[in-house]
Assembly symmetry: C2
DNA sequence: GTCTATAATTGGATAGAC
DNA sequence: GTCTATCCAATTATAGAC
């Protein structure tokens, strides 16, 4: 765990994490980074290979954080449907959007293999982990047998990512909350017979 | 229906529709527009109030097209669940993304009331229209009574929008297709008893 | 109406002092 | 390591010829 004041390098990374979440990659200028971080041009180009290098580090940290959030919920005990419901209903900065998912609309991120990697891996990890939980539920008899875990898992992750889209369009959390509750409703149809 | 060669104004709008779908609003430069449209600077600034004015017209057309696509499917006859399935499985340019939904990640679009309006209205229309269909299904007995149409409708629209996010992250249509089939699976749980 | 030329501003990176 | 000053290219907009 990091403690004490941040040095310039650390300050730059944390500022970049915020800005990329707020404005995306192309929407974040070096000027804005340096201004908010409170450091000069020199620091950025000393510690990183320009904007792209800093973005790569910031994205990796955002990806690690998002994965950690998921692990905390999915690794908890109890019925798998409960864990998935907790994931869906977890409090979020809805109008800010997902710091990972939003990067997919940024052509300069998707077009750069290094920048895209943490995005791809994180979302794929969520899909895979939820699919595992669903398969586990099928084996235990908690869930019905007649569905493909990987498909339902993708739908669950997509509802969250798409919920952000609806919320930003409306500039309101309401459609996000609706989508989440709709997904929770739909999931109850997966329950097994016993 | 428009026929014959496009004049410069028309050419600019159609080019802008394409480019905004491919690269977003901030990612689309006047230079790129003029180059692909094959017209000079003067034409753009004569017909429109700069890039923003052109974008407003392009977005309105994209919104109208997306709404028209929805109407064609939702207004068809037959069981409502069939119509929603047709909507979900409709062929799409998955890796390009939704020309309307993707704009929500563009701060300059969301921050401009004029540009945001067609985005908000179109997605809200889809939510509302699907909610109507679901309510209709509940009344007819095709669907069970114990769910909130507006919530499930939001989840359905979110799955499609989120599916694009997963597909772009993976640079593959597979997660999109999975999410769609997962949603179709989940929807079967809504069927009524009779 | 449409063009080319040009201007103002910002994005992104470099140079060199301390 | 960090700063300020500077530079080049691209974005966005304007001017003025035709």
């Amino acid at each position: 765990m990091y403690s004490g004041d941040m040095d310039a390098r650390e300050q730059l990374i944390e500022t970049m994490r915020e800005l990329m979440g707020e404005r995306g990659y192309v929407g974040t200028s070096p000027r804005a980074i340096l201004s908010r971080a409170g450091v000069g041009q020199g620091s950025m180009y000393h510690h990183f290979d320009g904007k792209a290098g800093l973005a790569a580090e910031a994205l990796r940290r955002n990806a690690d954080a998002m994965r950690g959030d998921g692990e905390a919920v999915f690794d908890a005990g109890g019925p798998v449907l409960d864990r998935i419901r907790v994931y869906l209903r977890r409090p979020r900065e809805v109008l800010q959007g997902c710091r990972i998912g939003r990067m997919t609309e940024d052509p300069d991120v998707i077009g750069d293999a290094v920048l895209r990697k943490p995005i791809e891996e994180t979302l794929a990890w969520y899909e895979r982990r939820i699919a595992e939980l669903l398969a586990e539920g099928q084996e235990s008899g908690e869930l019905a047998a007649g569905f493909v875990p990987g498909q339902v898992a993708a739908a669950i992750v997509a509802v969250v990512q798409g919920g952000y889209v609806l919320a930003k369009a409306a500039q309101s959390v309401e459609p996000f909350d609706n989508a989440i509750e709709g997904a929770v409703t739909l999931l109850t149809g997966l329950r097994g017979e016993r």
